[in-house]
Symmetry: C2
Subunit: 348 residues, 2 copies
């Protein structure tokens, strides 16, 4: 495990350290092909690996990207949802392919963020799993290259010159797809379930799309209600229980949840209350996580390309890092409706 340094390689080849550095970094205009070849050889033979610490120190870029997540002291639900896990995997792979590394870090406040970034000289950060409100509390420095996954971060859209970008699914289209699917099945008592109290842009977009589809189908404005729940299975179960009465009263015939975990919980809550899904109520999810195929009934859902999301996040971030002002500040992945067993024709 002894570090092989540039000096070792230089000595082995009989050139200066700087020449080796030039070869290693591909500045071949400064080195003759013959020398370059000898250096390459020695690098391979000795197993030289450049020290990121030394490079960071002098070059002011680390090749390290932080994935910042809402961090509780006990680490429970650091990567809360299957969606986040999928994005993380794709993000890591994409960064790996572009010669960058990923640091995983739970953060609680603005100090945590600043500390991580400064301590390691992070080139940039990806933030995932934060509500817009939590994000505002993080008070991201405008100079910090940051990509927000499924969040807005208030100022981002406004000022415009902050080095921040956003990645999400095409939420409006997703909402519209959901609405079209459900109204197409004859549903007229619609509920959007999710973190609607959070003033989240993502949820607002989905709701807007959902409502637009309802309007397209000729439904009155009051046909779409909302029900607040955080994106967890347990809150879904609770919400499902509460919704049961409305279903029985005939006010609600279909529920569109903002995530599959939530939808699965709602199905459970409804079922526990004695209702049948989809015979009595339809439930539609979002994400197409593995879970959607694993629960009973299998969830109909709005699928989004989570792997694409991770890749996009990597791309946008590296664009920001490179200081490419022409790079897009926002991108979304496509969505598609996957009809399975949890949705069916409206009862009656």
């Amino acid at each position: 495990m002894e570090q092989v340094t540039l000096k070792d390689v230089a000595r082995a080849v009989g050139v200066s350290v700087m020449t080796v550095s030039n070869v290693v970094n591909g500045r071949l205009d400064r080195v003759s092909p013959a020398t370059a070849a000898r250096v390459e050889r020695a690098v391979a033979d000795l197993g030289y690996v450049p020290s990121a610490a030394a490079r960071t120190l002098v070059a002011r870029r680390s090749g390290l990207v932080g994935l910042l997540l809402p961090g509780r002291p006990d680490g429970v639900s650091l990567l809360g949802s299957p969606h986040d896990v999928a994005v993380t995997g794709a993000l890591e792979a994409a960064l790996r392919g572009r010669d960058h590394h990923l640091m995983l870090r739970g953060v609680g406040d603005a100090r945590d963020v600043r500390d991580s970034v400064r301590r390691w000289g992070l080139d940039g950060v990806v933030l995932m799993g934060f509500t817009d409100a939590a994000l505002a509390g993080l008070d991201l420095p405008p100079t910090l290259a940051a990509v927000l996954v499924d969040a807005d971060g208030g100022a981002v859209g406004a000022g415009g010159r902050a080095r921040h970008a956003r990645v999400r699914s095409d939420d409006r289209a997703g909402g519209r797809l959901a609405g079209a699917h459900l109204t197409g099945l004859g549903h007229a008592g619609l509920v959007l379930a999710g973190p609607v109290d959070g003033a989240s842009r993502v949820v607002a977009e989905r709701l807007a799309g959902f409502r637009a589809a309802a309007a397209d189908a000729g439904l009155p404005a009051g046909a779409v209600r909302t029900a607040h729940a955080r994106t967890t299975y347990d809150e879904g179960v609770a919400l499902g229980g509460r919704l049961a009465a409305d279903v029985r009263a005939g006010d609600v015939t279909a529920v569109f949840a903002t995530a599959d975990v939530l939808a699965a919980g709602i199905v459970r809550g409804l079922t526990d209350a004695g209702l049948r899904v989809p015979a009595d109520v339809s439930v539609l999810g979002y994400d197409d996580a593995d879970l959607a195929r694993q629960v009973t009934p299998r969830l109909s859902t709005v699928a989004q390309d989570t792997a694409g999301k991770g890749r996009l996040a990597a791309e946008l971030l590296l664009g920001l890092v490179a200081g490419d002002d022409a790079a897009p500040r926002s991108a979304s992945v496509p969505v598609a409706l996957v009809a399975r067993e949890s949705t069916g024709p409206a009862p009656g």
Copy 2:
């Protein structure tokens, strides 16, 4: 985002850089309380954050730990199972609490490992999700502080002086618990489903415990069979389908899977084949992942303390890093049987 350095703090206070360094690193025996206080003050005022790069370079310890996972180029299933996700969360939190950071990295071969470690001067690594065979291919240097989660790594137990440690659940006890539960319900046609072809120590232990419990219950040696499957939902579904015939023939009445995802798949495969769980067959999982409560029927399972596993991994690793030779090289978290709906009395 300009870096505030030791020099800036030193100038502000009117002392040497070294004095500030001593205060920041808690070497208070070299500094008068009065000076220390002034330094602390300036550190807070200026928002000084030490540079990990510089510290790593000179001090030969980075405070960075790598979490190495089997890495495919596309990043799919980097954190394959809910179990791994839970461990990761707890690991990150534990490291955070001990002033360390976590680097997430998918690796394919020995070069990837060496490269990551050298490049960043990782203090140590945690390896998770590897089969024992894959681990052997990684060819971990004995001098590298490493903790293996749910794996053995061959040489680890043997040589003994390698700086490697292992964390797992109490697998033998888990197997025994599973066996006792199932035989207690009158089952006599038992199958252990999981990666049994992989020569994995973990699986072997669970099987041994399972068999021991069967023997305790007076069952003949042939009562426990094994069925190979990797730990995924889809392989579970396929296996469930194959097992259906044996169930109908009365040869199999209960299946013990090495993970909840696998168990859930098996339930699905069995159900799709027209069998009822648990009326016709019982299925028992392992882990007590969220999924166990989310599928129908809810899975009975052997719960293990995944958060404890993450914390233990952090502890063992930091012990190894500190060079504490007395530190334990192996630890396991407790298991407990959670009876839910997927297991019931043997049919007939």
